[in-house]
Symmetry: C2
Subunit: 382 residues, 2 copies
């Protein structure tokens, strides 16, 4: 298939580009380096030295004989995006092109403005480019489980049948997110749903939980190909942060009570999920929503797991609760459906002790590069 990956330089975008190229798809990866620029601005650069997207694609080709076409450009600029659509004529577009950091979106006016404008405009432009240049193109959009927040009822896969005063209808599952970043994804879903039901687009909206890991079959071939692995408070997700803290000898920073429960998945399962969505496209006029995670953990459970495995490797891991910089429930009900991707064929990779040990070993190679100044939260909205 002809696959256009927006945000192709990202933690998920680049491994996706490689994996799909290896499977024989024709892949174009577009990125404007927004995440790299923000990482530099906020002194939150990744653990590993990541060549830029052109250099990565250039390293990938001789190793594999596979090509990833690279476009450096801004999806929020319609002139640029629509030219890419017209030229490449994608059958599927995978839209990762969003400012992905919750703390960054809460830093101040300018960071919030950038997050809102970039994320909404990118999604709007993707919709418009599909309508005008590739109306059959399947949009796979990365949403987040964070859209749902932590409701006191079971979380369904995107939709909820509601009975009220003896009458029934079906609606988007209620959404209320914990940061402006997560809220922009709620707005994306609203926007996609409007255009899907009005103009019959094909959309899969993947409500993804936090992703961990830095190993994929392609990334493991060459150091230049590994995904940008963040352990900082701005871009680092909690598992990746804890692993790095364990290696650095910094106590694992549990925010508040640590009862915050979310659905997690390994990076290699993200690649599987996105591929399954691509190979089984949504129908015309369908907004298919899939909850994309493998296992539920509380923050305390993750900390305990990293400590147990880390201690077994002689790392002597400490856990320390710190004041929660976020406004969120620290103890709450959480039960979320996630059968859709399994029905499509997902073979989950749970976070076993071996997986945790493998990640720790990998991070130990980069031990000297860990900057302890990047670990404590610098942004508060509690």
């Amino acid at each position: 298939m002809r696959v256009l990956i927006l945000g192709g330089d990202g933690y998920l975008g680049w491994p996706t580009a490689m994996a799909f190229a290896m499977k024989g798809h024709e892949v174009a990866a577009m990125d404007n380096y927004l995440r790299r620029n923000i990482a530099r601005e906020t002194c939150s650069e990744a653990l590993t030295p990541n060549p830029n997207l052109i250099e990565r694609a250039r390293a990938f080709q001789p190793l594999t004989g596979k090509k990833v076409e690279v476009v450096i450009g801004d999806c929020a600029d319609y002139r640029v995006l629509s030219e890419v659509f017209n030229k490449f004529q994608p059958e599927v577009v995978i839209h990762y092109a969003e400012q992905p950091s919750a703390p960054y979106s809460m830093m101040g006016y300018e960071q919030a403005r950038v997050t809102l404008a970039n994320n909404l405009t990118a999604t709007f432009n993707v919709i418009q480019a599909v309508m005008s240049s590739a109306p059959q193109c399947h949009i796979i959009k990365l949403g987040t489980m964070g859209e749902y927040g932590t409701p006191n009822i079971d979380i369904e896969e995107g939709w909820l049948d509601i009975e009220h005063n003896g009458r029934k209808d079906k609606f988007l599952f209620p959404r209320q997110a914990g940061s402006l970043y997560h809220t922009t994804k709620v707005l994306d879903t609203d926007l996609l749903w409007f255009y899907v039901r009005t103009f019959g687009l094909r959309v899969t909206d993947l409500m993804q939980g936090p992703v961990y890991g830095l190993s994929t079959p392609e990334a493991d071939m060459d150091e230049r190909l590994i995904p940008n692995f963040h352990y900082d408070d701005i871009f680092g997700t909690v598992v990746n942060r804890f692993l790095t803290q364990a290696v650095a000898g910094v106590p694992l920073t549990v925010y508040g009570k640590g009862g915050q429960t979310r659905g997690y998945l390994n990076l290699i399962d993200t690649l599987q999920c996105v591929e399954l969505a691509m190979l089984n496209p949504a129908g015309k006029g369908e907004l298919r929503i899939l909850n994309q995670f493998v296992e539920l953990f509380s923050v305390n459970q993750i900390a305990d797991k990293v400590k147990k495995v880390g201690d077994g490797m002689g790392l002597n891991v400490k856990i320390e609760s710190i004041a929660n910089p976020r406004k969120e429930r620290e103890e709450h009900y959480y039960n979320a459906a996630h059968s859709g991707l399994k029905e499509l064929g997902l073979k989950p990779h749970p976070m076993t002790d071996e997986v945790v040990a493998g990640m720790l070993e990998r991070i130990i190679r980069y031990r000297e590069r860990i900057d302890r100044g990047k670990i404590m939260p610098r942004v508060r909205w509690s």
Copy 2:
């Protein structure tokens, strides 16, 4: 009170500014003439000759001894808006500053982009300006009943208690709107709710139905003060359009089957509702949502009413169903709660035959200015 009215040149904004100034409030009205510019671009100018906002305020002062302070500027430009907040220090901000035309938002890429960017950025900037310059300021935001769409269940006032698998929680009432314009108001509500629950803002979100009329006590004092009354397919709401068609001898253009049911209100009731919201502010951390309309009518019922009264005045009114340019249900369940504003003290003015006759008489004075080229729908999204 010190009241800042954003969109102060609009159909609702200007009458609000006058009414509140007459009551002794200190009023500033801000506008960037977006609606006037779009009206000119799309050849959809109002029936009545409306002096600009500075001229209107200048005409209003000697007649009443009351002052409306005018700022010509763009709320989507934060530098400008935040300067106004810092200088004026409003106790309440009434946010009408949105591109209000559903058909315009569906014309094409550029019109959609302008609608999304203007409306979201204006709302975002209002939130940020309040947080940074006037944290106690009550935000009164004009939403629309159109946010709810036409669900098959009773519409509540903004919120819905949901029981699911034996557990309960309370959520925003599900929203799914019929145009991009209406969808931007859904996004506004999502954004406001995020900032209200995170930072304790005070917000009233008024879900308003279509407004009709051109008479208010202040507007009736001088022709230069009347609101910009639109009868075109872009800005004209259905009652105002039908009244003008009746006067012009053009058959009333019912879109499709005409069973589309909405909640309507007279312009003078909009002024009452907004004042009641202002005098009874939302609490800190409260997103108060009020459904702002007086009576439910189907399009057919409105057409019949205008015909009956018009025929009685010798206008010989015809009704003609035309292909619906919109994507909407033409026959549907519709039952919407609207007790909140009545509890605050709203004294509704129903659309009696006398009210219809009064509006027709008023429009007859401008008969020569009616342009029949502005009546038939020019934008389709069905």
